[in-house]
Symmetry: C2
Subunit: 216 residues, 2 copies
DNA sequence: GTCTATATAAGGATAGAC
DNA sequence: GTCTATCCTTATATAGAC
């Protein structure tokens, strides 16, 4: 053996240290110089590992997805009733969105990407798995709501508060606890299952048979 | 009178033609040369009207907000029951989000802005009014859900599908009709009021007293 | 594999003529 | 108010030495 075996390929280390840069400032906001400086290389060295910035960016997103895939797989997806699975999904994804800010922000950059072709390619990487996870659950819920729209609604209910959290801070009614992923998950579950019913005179705080309630 | 009175100040015309540029590509993705070319000026001329690119961008967002304010004010906000007002709000905002793509995308750019100070300033311009509109309604709903979270959920239920529409196109269950603002509004209202209840054995398709149903 | 040096282009901003 | 011309910086990317 010659010296220490490199823990990771340099290529992967470049991707790793690029993730937070692109997550924060997006494709146009990060230069090859920034990336090189972050890992302590000259910009020219990057071109040994990647043909151009575009390809580097795409692989950065793919890398971030693989990294978060482990956490995603920790979210139970095949057991229990559809409602239980939905509850588990919401809780798991709320935690993921709160924990892995880079993943969350990369998603935002993909949503807003002006390059339609690149956007579609990256959406296949990232968003499709997310969508299909929820799709599988929703199809068993037998709701009268359109399943496609319901999937988007559920994902949005979890992601949107996280994506706007830096702004929500300054809006009325804000409390720091609300940024807690458990708090978010409970709210989403309450909204989806309990909705705006409880607290009204007609229905009181009764729960509908067969549906879980997290709060209380 | 000397010749024709200028319909609009040149300054405003610059802002107007800049809106779609920044909406599509964001702050870093648009150059002063792009803006100058779009309106048929030399880049240098822009600096007569605006001190720098940053200030121009900020005023572009402010201008877009003023433009969409007229449409926003068309959304009824002071009459009827809270439920009816919420229904009207959702319908109005779904239409606004579907109609004014520039406004929608500028909002996205603000959400993701890496410059915290600028983000906060622009959020005050744009997001605060939106938030307060819903806040006023939600506070009267007397829901057991946290009002701050509920406001964000309602806004997200309308905006998130629009912000991801270019990606949702490729997901299962997609139908072009779903992009229709009326369809979106109905879905959101159904979800908020009817939720996942209807269609289930226990509750059947009954509606809860006092709540409007748009569909059927 | 990484460097220095550099080609080439694009971008923000200013000076000064008109 | 707008132009031409230009400065300076930053950016992507390549060439060739080591």
């Amino acid at each position: 053996m010659t010296a220490v075996i490199p823990r990771k390929k340099k290529r992967d280390r470049i991707l790793e240290s690029s993730v937070p840069l692109f997550a924060l400032r997006g494709y146009h906001g990060v230069s090859m110089r920034d990336i090189a400086a972050a890992i302590g290389l000259s910009p020219a060295a990057l071109y040994y590992h990647f043909p151009d910035k575009e390809q580097l960016y795409i692989e950065v997103v793919a890398h971030a997805v693989r990294e978060s895939a482990a956490m995603r797989k920790g979210i139970p997806n095949g057991l229990g009733s559809p409602w239980g699975r939905l509850e588990a999904f919401v809780a798991g994804y709320a935690r993921l969105a709160a924990t892995d800010r880079n993943f969350l922000r990369l998603l935002q950059w993909i949503f807003i990407d002006g390059d339609a072709e690149r956007q579609q390619k990256l959406a296949e990487y990232v968003f499709r798995d997310l969508f299909l996870d929820v799709w599988g659950i929703v199809c068993e819920l037998d709701s009268r709501l359109d399943p496609h729209m319901l999937v988007i609604s559920i994902i949005g209910l979890v992601l949107f508060p996280c994506q706007t959290s830096s702004i929500n801070r300054f809006m009325p009614g804000y409390r720091p606890q609300l940024e807690n992923p458990e708090e978010l998950a409970r709210h989403v579950i309450d909204l989806l299952f309990g909705c705006l019913d409880a607290g009204k005179g007609a229905t009181g705080s009764q729960n509908v048979a067969g549906k879980p309630l997290l709060n209380g």
